[in-house]
Symmetry: C2
Subunit: 176 residues, 2 copies
């Protein structure tokens, strides 16, 4: 399965959430999430454009491998492999025993909506501000891009943010 997604700077999360309700989107969750990213013991993920992420939220946790991004117009597609897990501490210990090192933590409050085939995440990211992510899981990246573009216009999202939160936090920390 391929995830195609676009991220935009939010013109204001309150405004976006009201627009989503008007469009008939369904709110599925509001959660505080902590994402722990790991450095590989022998591979430089910043060069290979991969990531290993342990996501902890209130009612669950998951371990995700993200493959290199394949560029599409105004969006990105990448392989995601996600394993749901019961015990994030145990998962983190195994990963660390194998030589992976905790590198960065991204914390955010996320409200998630379903708008037809799309998932819309309205994020407030610690230290970075407000963003909106449009995502679609698909076997057909081309059609996904058209659906994303439609939602982008409906929500009046104009400031594309091509970087991941992780990249933004790394840049912020290295320029500090």
């Amino acid at each position: 399965m391929i995830e195609v997604e676009s991220k935009f700077r939010s013109p204001g999360n309150d405004k976006i959430e009201k627009a989503l309700v008007r469009l008939g989107a369904k709110k599925t969750a509001t959660q505080v999430m902590e994402d722990v990213y790991f450095a590989h013991p022998s591979r430089d993920f910043s060069r290979t454009d991969e990531a290993l992420r342990l996501r902890k939220h209130e009612d669950a946790a998951e371990l995700t491998y993200k493959g290199p991004r394949m560029k599409a117009e105004n969006s990105k597609a990448r392989e995601e492999v996600t394993l749901r897990i019961d015990n994030p501490l145990t998962a983190q210990r195994i990963v660390e025993r194998l030589g992976f090192k905790e590198s960065y933590i991204v914390k955010k409050k996320r409200s998630s909506y379903i708008l037809d085939k799309l998932r819309v995440d309205v994020d407030d990211v610690e230290g970075l501000g407000e963003y909106v992510e449009l995502e679609i899981l698909t076997e057909s990246p081309e059609r996904a891009t058209s659906l994303l573009e439609l939602a982008r216009k409906e929500l009046d999202l104009n400031k594309l943010e091509p970087r991941t939160y992780l990249e933004m936090i790394i840049e912020k920390q290295s320029s500090a």
Copy 2:
């Protein structure tokens, strides 16, 4: 938590299982297990005496990191970190995307018994034959060794097998 265990060549699994019943042991499960072992992308597990194992059995799966063995008399202790997982295929895919390679598979039929504080596994291992493992999970390796020795005598187990099944399979394949 430390696992202290001893493995012995079985004088016959039927005989052992009858003796266990006589001693009041409780049978907890009989399962066919497939253990997939992985090679680390940059660390030689055969030198560091570690292992990463994905165990699949009928009703569950688990991912286990095993740390180096600490030698005790006639037994071995090592750190084990085990994560229960719902989806072994997804776990294997993440591990492989991170550069771990499937190295060996160990298949066995295992009948497990609980004898007071001990776990006794009566194993029939594909290509290797019949073995009995005595195990105890403990924070006190010294006391565990005494309990193991008692059970060893009760079950008349005399042929200590210090190698893991994985090591035995590697030796068998490299001498073939």
